[in-house]
Subunit: 417 residues, 2 copies
């Protein structure tokens, strides 16, 4: 095995600039929805940089892209990565940074093992680009890691359709991103991501050690009214589905305001039917989320929401159907992983603190399968899911160094037992 | 000229059943948006029944379909008709009834003139199927009659695009529904339509004589917020365009409730951007209407709306742009036309009353060009813009008799001077 020089921080930044060109938008963001042309082009480029460094690139049965470096034949893998798909008008860092940092961390470790700077590892390394973390084109989000961890049935995931009726299976198959393989055996996992909040920037720390995630209750409501003429139908005769839906959007904010700083609520998606200028809407479908770090506050907020649903039904003379619901509690990442990461940050001289994640990540799934370390770097002004999302070069380079050290220690077996 | 027997009421009902098959939906309604395949198929069928009765069928420069019966060479025309396009999930009667009744009224008059049951007319008859009255695929509504009456520039109308980017000109051209012709010269106009309200049913009258239309203010608002992550972005940092829009929807209803029975408000169309589950919406576009028969009440309601817009901007930390606005006052149909129709109804023994129209119609445009008679038949339960829209066979046959008599008298010159 020949020793290769590890890519430099400048090489990393150059690769990141290249990535940001895939699906680039006019306002400095990206549009790389899952299995789109831009997503596919970026995956093809990512394959090339992995293969150039001697990694074996494979796609599994749900289109997760794996770069395998097997230095210990037959041993399980330390899985490190994130996702390269994006929201429709997204920033450059969300997910993409974590995948590229994972690859460069693995490149650095390979060189260090080759040159005997580091002792030979006990585990292999698998760089992963999870499929469809964002869930904007195909629902639900975190699809690739959900199938890999057994939380979502493969057949159900492959049958999901986008708004044009294209299935996940068709979209992945068209790009050659599917196989029968279940993916490598994981022993440990690590992920790095931007914070998507202001707390680390405010406190002046470079590395966030994620100790747990916020709890969330997510609902898909369908408001059923009755189609009528907007001009001639008297108000008392109306069953206005959009009025009912709007009352829920307003209620969601009022509920958040009742728990200042403790409960986050939102409606990100809302579809009106038939959505014609002179027709009272007959049906509105919307997605409403409640999130909190405090499970008791979340339960209170949820009870308020259900009272408000009943009030909206009455006020707009509509029926509100709770079509689907999905919730998760506050769950910890393994404390020994947080401890390992704290030691690594201290050894590297990087300022750090423990944080919670408000958003879901693929590591949220992985931590239920294997011990998992989740790291954050700061987000300038906390901007996220926005083309103006930004993290400094200094911070993303520091995060790469941190991730390299964490993955190196995981490969050394630091979390065994 | 050979005398042809006039089609019977049963023939009329059979033709109406045939029409209701074009674009028929599973729930008993129709989907015949302007220049769609279903609209085109129905126009082709309509041409055939007009030509079978000796009418000359022509399309004008904005795709209005004309059936001309020229019995007085060189004389202007009594224009009678409505529209055959529909909302996406519409009822069978709206517009379509008025076009078919116009054709059968003309067939009956032609036979009556041929057989000398009626004295020879002083004016010709033009049956018209106005293009795109509904405005669901191409905005604005009442497009064909607006161009014909000079209220909308031809070039502007032809350049309007549907959500797929197809222009009116392309859509009409693809079906061969365009020419350079400006349409026939109108002297008088008549239209019959379903009431789309409950007042006639409640009062037990068969014929409504429309004396004026409600005033309306219509606005296109665009709410500008900022895209953010629904989970991680703290509430105070959000600029939620959907919250701002929802406050406007709720305000619209509260304004209507402040003027019980006097002001109608609605938001029929609302589009969210980027409309993704975990993204705080950055932009929402919506159409908001205020209508009233009382112009003072409308002005008060409008002032309330503008106060509420400012409040919504503050509450949701968004900017609300008033992109377009369009309004019309209460305007009368010519009183001598109402009087003519009242005499005709009395002579036919049909119970009638004067009514206002809350909805816009092509006759709303035509009345500003020539003396125009607008007639209603009742709507069961007032249901409109809904697949369950219904008017009894008895009432649509009575309306046909009424329309025949009105058009006959207009052709006789009853409204001259």
């Amino acid at each position: 095995m020949t020793t290769r020089t590890a890519p430099s921080a400048d090489d990393f930044l150059a690769d990141f600039r290249t990535m940001s060109g895939f699906g680039a938008t006019a306002n400095g963001g990206v549009d790389r929805q899952a299995a789109s042309q831009a997503d596919a082009a970026q995956r093809t480029w990512f394959r090339s940089i992995l293969e150039a460094r001697g990694f074996t690139v494979r796609f599994d049965r749900i289109g997760n892209q794996w770069g395998l470096l097997e230095r210990v034949p037959g041993a399980p893998f330390v899985v490190v990565g994130s996702h390269m798909d994006s929201q429709p008008t997204a920033g450059r860092y969300d997910g993409a940074y974590g995948v590229l940092a994972a690859a460069h961390a693995a490149f650095r470790l390979a060189s260090a093992w080759d040159s005997n700077e580091r002792t030979a590892p006990k585990y292999n390394v698998a760089v992963v680009n999870w499929f469809n973390e964002e869930g904007s084109r195909f629902k639900p989000s975190m699809m690739g890691s959900s199938v890999y961890t057994g939380k979502l049935a493969l057949a159900d995931a492959l049958a999901v359709t986008d708004p044009q009726g294209v299935t996940v299976g068709e979209a992945l198959g068209a790009h050659g991103f599917l196989s029968d393989w279940e993916g490598p055996e994981a022993a440990f996992c690590a992920e790095i991501h931007i914070e998507q909040g202001r707390s680390m920037e405010r406190d002046g720390v470079t590395i966030g050690l994620v100790h747990s995630n916020w709890a969330a209750n997510k609902y898909e409501f369908v408001v059923h009214g009755e189609q009528a003429h907007t001009g001639s139908t008297v108000i008392a005769d109306r069953h206005d589905a959009l009025l009912g839906a709007s009352l829920l959007v307003v209620a969601a904010r009022e509920i958040a305001d009742a728990f200042p700083g403790k409960v986050h609520t939102s409606v990100g998606q809302l579809d009106v039917h038939p959505n014609s200028p002179v027709v009272v809407p007959s049906r509105v479908q919307l997605l409403l989320d409640l999130r909190s770090a405090d499970e008791d506050a979340l339960a209170e907020a949820d009870a308020m929401l259900h009272r408000r649903v009943a009030e909206a039904e009455k006020a707009a003379s509509v029926q509100v159907e709770r079509r689907t619901s999905h919730s998760w509690p506050v769950t910890p990442y393994q404390p020994e992983g947080v401890e390992l990461a704290a030691k690594a940050a201290a050894d590297l001289g990087l300022p750090y603190k423990e944080v919670m994640t408000l958003a879901g990540h693929d590591s949220t799934n992985m931590k239920d399968l294997v011990p998992t370390v989740m790291l954050f770097v700061p987000s300038v002004d906390g901007i996220s899911h926005n083309e103006h999302e930004y993290t400094t070069d200094e911070d993303i380079v520091a995060g790469l160094a941190m991730l390299t050290e964490v993955v190196g220690r995981l490969c050394d077996g630091a979390l065994e037992d």
